[in-house]
Amino acid sequence: MKPLILHARVQLEASRCPRCDVTWHPRRERCPTCIQEVMEEVLLPERGELYSFSVVRIGRPGVEVPYGVAVVDFGNVRVFGRLINWESARIGDETVVMQVGPRANAPESLQAGSVGYQFFVVERKG
């Protein structure tokens, strides 16, 4: 994953419906359950647990492979994203969220696929 520059650990923004007590990621203006515009902005926890992951070795044209993908459990919501350090990852590992950007000379296709958040395993559990 050399083309990536890790900017900072961040927390993901999400929406919580106070009526339904359900947290949604990504953020939503309206609760899909009760259809009311009463959503509160909330931050997901700094750390989640690696629920599952894989390594994509056959990807879409123009997208560099291999790359890791994961589902991270933040307690009340599970979020999909890319996984940076998949080589040593194990299910159950503690995972943080990184805001990432491409290096300046990265190909356009990679930039499109890698701007935003990615997951990073920081601690082995068990």
């Binding site: 599952s52 992951f53 070795r57 056959i58 999909f80 696929g113």
Partner: protein
């Protein structure tokens, strides 16, 4: 209770393969002609057409139907990803059950070779697809989680593919006719860890069709008609929350509703055609259908119970893995197989029990759903 029961009067399909250079309408037309011949029904008796297709663009059903005389009947085109043909059959069944029509055609057709291979196209605006989600990766993460919770060796998962290919060798309509070994499957190229290429279904071309009529009409033409005892469509529950990757929710709900509608349980089934798009899926579905407790799907497979000669044969046609997967046609290819099995016409892959069959397709690939659509049909003879 519906006012009328629906019956399958006949089925037809093309060989599933790469049909490069063949016209889309020709592919669909072959399945329709075979189906009409099998049902012993004239085109003029067909009152409506439900056509499943995903990627062919505008009016796929009309492009096929116009090859036949007097096509001024309603044609309803149905897109529900890999559950499109299952959805077409669901609509056809309900139209018969409510008395809207006496005889209709359910059709599914897809030509994936025009894509030139590789991954199926998905919505590029989808937040997961935009980040690199692929369909093999979605199932790979199911497999990885399953391995974590229950333990499963690659060699065990490979047995799904080995079984499907062994069965397909006896199926003249199958995309692949060569048996594969565990070593072939495990040693093939890695697509998305832990799924290798031979644990993934091929992109196929093909078409399949069924004539659906009222039971009353079917009884005039055959002594023991195959009836549709359950037809369930579930479109998925949009949920950001704790999705359990080892128990896809749409199949859980659809199979439960189908058992209720048909008044049967897993112990009553003689065979199953399920959506084994990836080898792990068949193991998950054993458990959801109630054939094995959670975590014991692989043991069921290793026991031989799901082989053609076993207690509950699963995918005797070769399934998606070996019969192939022209996505908008698969649901009706499953029904063709179930119909042939129930009427004793499956040749070398004939299963022993000939009373009750279950077919199951799911369509996935968008975020927030385990699957965006799932159909389960239960067919009964007599």
């Amino acid at each position: 209770m519906p006012s009328e029961r629906a019956a399958i009067l006949g089925v037809g399909m093309t060989k599933f393969a790469k049909h490069q250079g063949r016209a889309f309408s020709d592919l669909g037309g072959e399945a329709v002609r075979e189906c009409l011949k099998d049902a012993g029904i004239e085109w003029a008796e067909i009152q409506a057409v439900y056509c499943g297709n995903v990627l062919a663009g505008m009016l796929p059903g009309q492009r096929i139907v116009r090859e036949f005389a007097s096509s001024d009947i309603p044609v309803i085109n149905v897109e529900n990803a890999c559950a499109s043909a299952g959805t077409a059959l669901h609509l056809a069944t309900r139209a018969i059950e409510t008395g809207q029509y006496d005889a209709v055609l359910a059709l599914g057709v897809e030509q994936l070779s025009v894509l030139g291979g590789g991954l199926l196209p998905q919505d590029p605006e989808d937040i997961e697809v935009a980040q690199g989600a692929t369909l093999p990766a979605a199932y790979a993460m199911r497999a990885k989680r399953y391995i974590h919770e229950y333990g499963l060796r690659a060699e065990q998962m490979a047995l799904v593919s080995v079984k499907s290919h062994r069965n397909a060798a006896y199926n003249p309509y199958a995309h692949f006719n060569q048996p594969w070994t565990v070593a072939d499957v495990v040693g093939s190229r890695m697509v998305a860890d832990p799924l290798t290429l031979y644990m993934c279904c091929p992109n196929s071309d093909g078409a399949a069709a069924a004539v659906v009529t009222s039971e009353k009409l079917a009884k005039k033409r055959t002594q023991s008609p195959v009836t549709v005892a359950a037809s369930v469509l579930v479109s998925g529950h949009f949920n950001p929350g704790p999705r359990d990757l080892t128990r896809p929710e749409t199949t859980v709900v659809a199979s439960r509703k189908a058992y209720e509608e048909a008044g049967v349980g897993p112990e009553d089934l003689d065979m199953i055609e399920c959506h084994d798009a990836f080898a792990i899926a068949e193991i998950l579905y054993y458990e959801i259908f109630g054939l094995a407790p959670p975590g014991e799907g692989a043991a069921l497979l290793e026991s031989g119970a799901t082989e053609i000669g076993g207690r509950i044969p699963v995918n005797p046609s070769g399934g998606l893995l070996a019969r192939g997967h022209p996505i908008g046609a698969t649901g009706l290819a499953q029904v063709a197989e179930a119909y042939w099995q129930l009427t004793g016409r499956a040749g070398a892959r004939q299963v022993a029990g000939r009373n009750t069959a279950l077919t199951h397709v799911t369509g996935g690939g968008i975020s927030g759903y385990d699957n965006g659509a799932c159909t389960v049909h239960i067919l009964k003879r007599g």
